[in-house]
Assembly symmetry: C2
Homo-oligomer: 614 residues x 2
């Protein structure tokens, strides 16, 4: 981006206040567009620096997004941003300019895409690799309706490590719908070296464009006397393998897509030409676009690591932060290193979350036993099964919300055979500003419905260490140790792996587990006249715990997970007079403290609830 | 296969009784091998014709399996058959010769692979597309251990429509482990036209082998004077796109694998040469093998449809039968056609189960609104979301056990946005001889843990029709209609969509739903002195139902699903004195009647249980 606009007099014409977005974008000349991109970048930098979020990925897609909105017509054409974390420019350009400063705040603009927020967000995105499937569904419906509109999926190279993206491509490739997949190659995944596809896309990025090269082959053959022309004609007319070799080149073409690109993702005119070419085909097309992380913000471009945590960049969420040393994740990661030092059976597995799960310590210490499998939780769980049957002890560190992806693999590849595999279930419970797509509130329901599973929910670092030890060395089958995002607020000198019980012979017992214990303990201490039971091994519920519970007239159970399938629901099924306070619906974006208050889990509200029963 | 063996005198030498399997296989000469294959085929035909199971797919992999056991050394080398339904020859050749006649019977040989059955089955297989992940885990462990053994995944082309297979390939392609993926191209998927990959593999099958063609390119260029040699050298030495075009050809090579094949899957020597070539590479290799369904059984070869139901072949289970007209599946499929006749919003989706789910009627009547997405339940659910946001009413017919694959998509792509999508949950409950990998006992736990979900469980055809009507036209969000495998045993003249209640003012109420209602009704009628409540809308539990239940001193709840997360557990959480009889662990292969008896759901055992409470 040029820092000085060549047409300063046009700047006022394109101020956000005067534009009817996104419709007026088509009326701008390239010079005005250039200025608009500058404005957008300023807004991105300012907002993200205030509110947190994804900076470099959004700086990289400014021109890409503008070009999409100039070539396509949203909302009639549907533009879907995979994961949604690179959709900030899209939000700004589709009427969310004024609200954008509320990004990721309570009641503010979401960090992901949501139909309830704008008619220009066709579907919810938050988890990876869904956009091709959504867009193909939309494009198929358009075709049935006789519409000539387009569905566009914008997907980063990282999301292409997820099998869902492949399933969508495989299914769509044989169709004739107006589906355009914009493959944003920004090498987010490549630095992580998460697989063959990343390497393949890297090759694509750095070579001559395929289109040009294909032309070059023909041009070369044109110059070959006598035999060049026949070879060329053979290549062109042949429907056999020759054609695949030379005239059909990319994986995407093999899967049935047309292919355009790669295009310079910061050249607006090239982008528009490419998108128009894709539109003209009126069938599934992949458009490959090369973008630069942090583009247009000099410090970020020069040193993207500093501004986007490239060294620590998490593909799946795009969260830029390396997890803090003072966090459950880091404690987990470091403790696993300790185990692995004296036990070469320990293997660590992550689905593109090395830094977020605290496994960077393990990766550095034991690279040969560390596996980053890409955004591929299904594969990860089954891969763990393979390690385990060979005598290894696999430990898969995975965010609660993403573990939802491997429910069938938990059952089929681990539980039925009672295979021993340990899950570090990170970000369990409320995660805060990422909102409803990322809260980890279903892992308890999910895991307790899988036979041969044990679950720990430590409430502080020392308990996490002890639970992890049990999970690795004492237990069998699937063992999950679930812990929250962020840090522990207490130091516990009496860590437990079963339960912690304060018995003062009251008639009312308060039960809880995990992070929520801290608030509950305070509330119980304040209210007095109630006993307290903290579960650490939360499932299966032990006979000892049942014995304790059976003694009370009233049991109040506070639980930071979805109610249906929860531990408190299971306790309620066995005992009368259990009052369960769990989560009954999705929790929108807000800080964890705000969410606790909303859910009745603040100390004040906990006290109020407890008092109702004594 | 030749019908007459050229070395008749050797036949007795290779009788199964005298062979130490699989070890002695390496000692046989090719003539003996040929005879062995004949013997195996005879056994396959005889056993499958008696017990049911997969005939043509297993007839197609006889030489392939023998070659694997001659080149590799099981159990040190680990051979994993994806899905496991093509592993019959493997079972016969690894010491399960005598037991093979018990195939798919109670306490007999499983129709799939199980470590508990043989040391030669490294992992459980039953669901599709898991073998690459398992094998890569095993191969990675071998590498850590310093072992030079091999992990071999045998995968059919159908399984390659599943994203998990891609995730595994993508992850393994960058590694240097001893992983061999044998891609069995038998066009099981191709007749179904389930996607770009199938088409791609079909091309591979019918063209000259890639290896030969690559050679041909070079030979052609050798004949081109002056410029041919430079072009060839350029192609060879270049690491740029040219090389990808001509010298690196397959998708698998793009993903980082070496590639061997395609090989004639019925030429034992070629197969062994190919596998040895793959071994010699000592890194990930894909070996493509072309096999013929029904090979060696003349009637099946000539008319595979008749003997393997090719027209109706289900990729995912390999079950040969088109679902009977007298079945829940057919009633579902036909009713959906009726709806679709007058409503062009109705779309039908299947994950490679057109015939098994009764959707063949819909596919024929409304091809433009019918979508077979491949073995891709994740994609299917999200694809439904895309259809729905465009005003369509997607109905995804899916087996309960395979729906486990789309738990996250249910949450992320449907539930959070309260998108209306209907699920025909087929094979809910016990399925019988396919055993624990295929019983549909987790859908209730899974679906009830997803907000914005409603579940119907009709117990006969007429109720199924009414429930489907409600699901499509009256309800919102995710609506599941779950029904069992097979046919209905009753004709109901008073179909319900909420509940059916027989109130005789007894103190004890028996509650149940679905197929199990038939036995429970008989038992209640026999026992007398208990009231009866059949749920049809099983979740959420309505206030009316709660009101009924609240009147009773004792509630006995019989439920054909896993207990944790069940409806009866939820009822128990709200009411005292609920006695729940659900399923507490995996149920092995046996007939449905045997399973009902085992679970206490036979009429006799139900009566006995009920009598305990009155």
């Amino acid at each position: 981006m040029k820092k000085n606009n060549r047409n300063g007099n046009l700047i006022s014409d394109i101020s956000f206040d005067k534009l009817n977005l996104p419709y007026d974008l088509k009326k701008l000349n390239y010079s005005q567009c250039e200025k608009l991109c500058e404005n957008v970048r300023e807004m991105l930098i300012e907002t993200v620096s205030n509110n947190g979020g994804h900076l470099s990925s959004n700086l990289g897609t400014v021109e890409l997004t503008l070009a999409l909105h100039r070539v396509f017509k949203s909302p009639e054409d549907k533009i879907i941003f995979d994961v949604g974390h690179q959709a900030y420019t899209h939000k700004i350009l589709t009427g969310r300019y004024n609200e954008f400063k509320t990004l990721r705040k309570k009641d503010g603009v979401s960090g992901f895409c949501k139909p309830c927020e704008s008619v220009h967000d066709p579907v919810i995105t938050g988890h990876s690799s869904t956009s091709v499937s959504s867009a193909f569904g939309i494009a198929s419906a358009m075709k049935i309706n006789g519409s000539d509109n387009f569905a566009v999926a914008v997907v980063g190279d990282g999301a292409f490590t997820g099998g869902m993206a492949y399933e969508g491509l495989n299914n769509a490739g044989k169709s004739d719908v107006n589906l355009i997949v914009v493959l944003n190659i920004n090498e987010m995944s490549i630095s992580k070296n998460v697989g063959g596809m990343a390497k393949y896309l890297s090759t694509m990025r750095y070579k001559d464009t395929y289109i040009k090269t294909k032309g070059a082959v023909e041009r070369t053959l044109n110059k070959v006397p006598v035999i060049g022309e026949p070879i060329k004609n053979t290549l062109r007319s042949s429907k056999n393998a020759f054609k695949n070799f030379v005239l059909s080149t990319t994986i995407f073409e093999e899967l049935g897509f047309d292919f355009v690109g790669p295009i310079d993702g910061h050249d607006l005119k090239d982008l528009e030409d490419g998108f128009r070419a894709a539109k003209s085909k009126r069938r599934p097309v992949v458009v490959a676009v090369n973008t630069v992380k942090g583009k247009g913000y000099a410090p970020a471009e020069e040193n993207p690591g500093e501004f986007h945590g490239v060294g620590s960049f998490e593909i799946q969420t795009g969260n830029p932060d390396v997890v803090s040393a003072d966090s459950f994740s880091s404690v987990f990661g470091n403790e696993l290193v300790e185990f692995a030092k004296s036990d070469d059976r320990i293997c660590a597995v992550t689905a593109a979350m090395k830094y977020g799960t605290g496994l960077q310590y393990f990766a550095k210490a034991f690279p040969e036993r560390f596996f980053d499998v890409g955004i591929a939780e299904e594969h990860a769980a089954t891969f763990c099964g393979g390690l385990a049957v060979m005598g290894k002890i696999p430990v898969f560190a995975v965010y609660s919300t993403f573990m939802q992806r491997c429910y069938d693999q938990l059952i089929h590849d681990l539980s039925i055979g009672n295979v021993h595999a340990v899950f570090g279930v990170d970000r369990a419970g409320i995660v805060g500003d990422d909102g409803e797509t990322h809260n980890g509130i279903f892992d308890v329901s999910m895991l307790t419905s899988v036979p041969n599973t044990k679950i720990y929910s430590p409430s502080d670092y020392e308990e996490l260490r002890h639970c992890l030890y049990n999970a690795v060395y004492k237990d069998k089958g699937i063992v999950a140790v679930r812990y929250p995002r962020g840090n522990s607020q207490v130091v516990n000198t009496t860590p437990k792996t079963d339960y912690y019980y304060e018995n003062n012979n009251n008639k009312c017992l308060v039960v809880t587990y995990g992070r929520l214990y801290n608030n509950v303990k305070t509330a119980v201490d304040n209210v007095k006249n109630v006993d307290l039971l903290k579960l650490v091994n939360i499932f299966p519920i032990s006979d000892e715990v049942k014995s304790i519970i059976s003694k009370y007239e009233t049991i109040i159970f506070f639980e930071e997970c979805y109610y249906n399938g929860s531990v408190s629901q299971k306790i309620s099924a066995e005992f009368n007079n259990v009052k369960s306070y769990a989560i009954n619906d999705y929790v929108k974006q807000m800080s964890i403290a705000e969410a606790y208050d909303y859910l009745g889990f603040s100390v004040e509200k906990l006290e109020k609830t407890i008092k109702e029963y004594i």
